[in-house]
Amino acid sequence: MAVPSHPAPSAGPRNRILRWIDYRLPFWEVVQHDFMEYPAPRNLNYWWNFGSLAGIILVIMIATGVVLAMHYQPNADLAFDSVERIMRDVNYGWLLRYIHANGASMFFLIVYIHLFRGLYYGSYKYPRELLWMLGVVILLLMMATAFMGYVLPWGQMSYWAATVITNLFSAIPVVGNDIVTLLWGGFTVGNPTLNRFFSLHYLLPFVIVAVVLLHLLALHQHGSNNPLGIDKRGPQDAITFHPYYTIKDMFGLCVFLLVFAIFVFYLPNQLGHPDNYIPANPMVTPNHIVPEWYFLPYYAILRSVPNKLLGVILMFGAVLILFLLPWLDTSRVRSARYRPIYRLVSWLLPIDAVILGYVGSQPPAGYIVTMGQLATIYYFFHFLILLPILGKIERPLPLPLSIAEAVLGPRRPAAAGEGE
């Protein structure tokens, strides 16, 4: 296996105080090693921006969330009004709330792209299985956090989302109803539910931070995958993370912030539902309840199955199946570039997810139901049948000998690969 190239270790900070600290607590050393000198493949494309973007949006969410929590009242009688107070009375409260609410959508958008990057370039394959699985854990934690955050404004959509999602657990045989009562802390979604959701909504992001650190630790064990999907063979295949990818990530960040700003300033409620500006009413369910867009595909899977328990199982299974992906995909070749069939097939999954998302956003009637069922079948077919078989029958293209050769052409001397 290729040993990651490490440029000559730097002498450490020049400042004496920093040196004193570094000798006892190697903070600067870790920053240098993992964020500056970290040898990244020299051929990473813009698909590789989304990991750092996800980290940045996580920080934005925590920063705005901590401040919003200082103005929010987690009490069923006060929550809705306190959110309106944030919008109207608190200085810049509207901005913080719109950043936080749209930030959740941006977070999922980024993570879904990041996830598809992994699917396309085979980033989940040996030796990055645990890296991938930690990513799926982060996704699950994000879903839980986003769902509970959505409940906090205590509007109609909040209330009925909480009711519907917690009721999923009633599908569990025998103990289902007792579990739901336990989740609610009562006999319906109410003040105790709101209190515990607030507590967990505040806790889980910090759990996500911890898992992100593990995700990074696993990433840096074998280094980033790359568009060619082959291992680094020597220093000529790598460039230092700083300044090459810090600057590239910063450029990507600027583009992302533009998109984010368009939503925050011009379309702040585009991704939400007007019904959530109606205070929660336990006596009336809105006519058409739909989850946020990032949950629509799962919601469509749930509705496509006529059996309650099976629907819930398949919905959770749609995410959990990602844990098994490193073993379901039997091909040893990582990048879709060298898998002529998978290169096309890999796009069917996001297309299927978009179809499921559309189905989830529509009232379940007529052809929508059939469409949802077909898309659900394809989703599982893709993972359970297509990928295992494809790995066996597909004939991959020849892989390049090294990253440097593929990028620079075969005739360049190796020494020219020095980063500077």
Binding site: V67, D89, V90, N91, Y92
Partner: protein
């Protein structure tokens, strides 16, 4: 070979390169941007508009007899209103202001001598001094006495003994009629 990618040294600038300039200006702009982005987070912690809306208090003084003291709430803090007796006014006016820790004439602390209006918060560490209720210990100058650390205020609310550094604060107020004031 490496020189090709290195920016050329600008002539006459002591080895500073175009790259140094770009890094410095880029970092400065980024720092300003980060500070601007942080401002909404910080400013949201300042009093919100509904809090500011509560920042005036109107008080009807007509039921307050001479010698009576009244406590009202302004911005969540107690405000002492003292309808002073002629003796108290005289005692307050006779003090030589220059001998005081926080020199201030009684006339500078009132709009009408018989009405003393002050924030009832000790200038030491924020306790509420005694003296506004009948039967309270008013301290040895007949004004107010703070039980926390023993600060003593006179009938003009000026610090006379104890650790407090300043006189009790006179809030902004105005008489809206002969017998009514608006604080704030």
């Amino acid at each position: 070979m490496a020189d090709v990618t290195q920016s050329p040294v600008m002539p006459g600038h002591g080895g500073e390169t175009r790259r140094d300039f770009l890094i410095l200006t880029g970092a400065a702009l980024g720092g300003v941007g980060a500070a601007i982005a942080a401002w909404p987070l910080i400013d949201s912690l300042n009093p919100a508009r509904d809090t500011l809306a509560l920042s005036t208090t109107e008080v009807d003084l007509s039921p307050v007899q001479a010698g009576q003291r009244l406590t009202v709430v302004w911005r969540g803090k107690p405000v002492f209103i003292d309808h002073r007796t002629p003796e108290e006014i005289k005692a307050a006016q006779e003090v030589d202001a220059s001998t005081l820790r926080d020199p201030q004439k009684d006339a500078d602390r009132v709009k009408k001598p018989e009405w003393l209006v002050m924030v009832g918060v000790c200038t030491h560490l924020g306790c509420i001094p005694l003296g506004n209720k009948p039967g309270d210990d008013r301290g040895s100058f007949g004004g107010w006495f703070c039980p926390c650390h023993g600060s003593v205020y006179d009938t003009s609310g000026r610090i006379r003994q104890g650790p407090a550094p300043f006189n009790l604060v006179v809030p902004p107020y105005e008489f809206t009629s002969d017998t009514a004031i608006k604080i704030g």
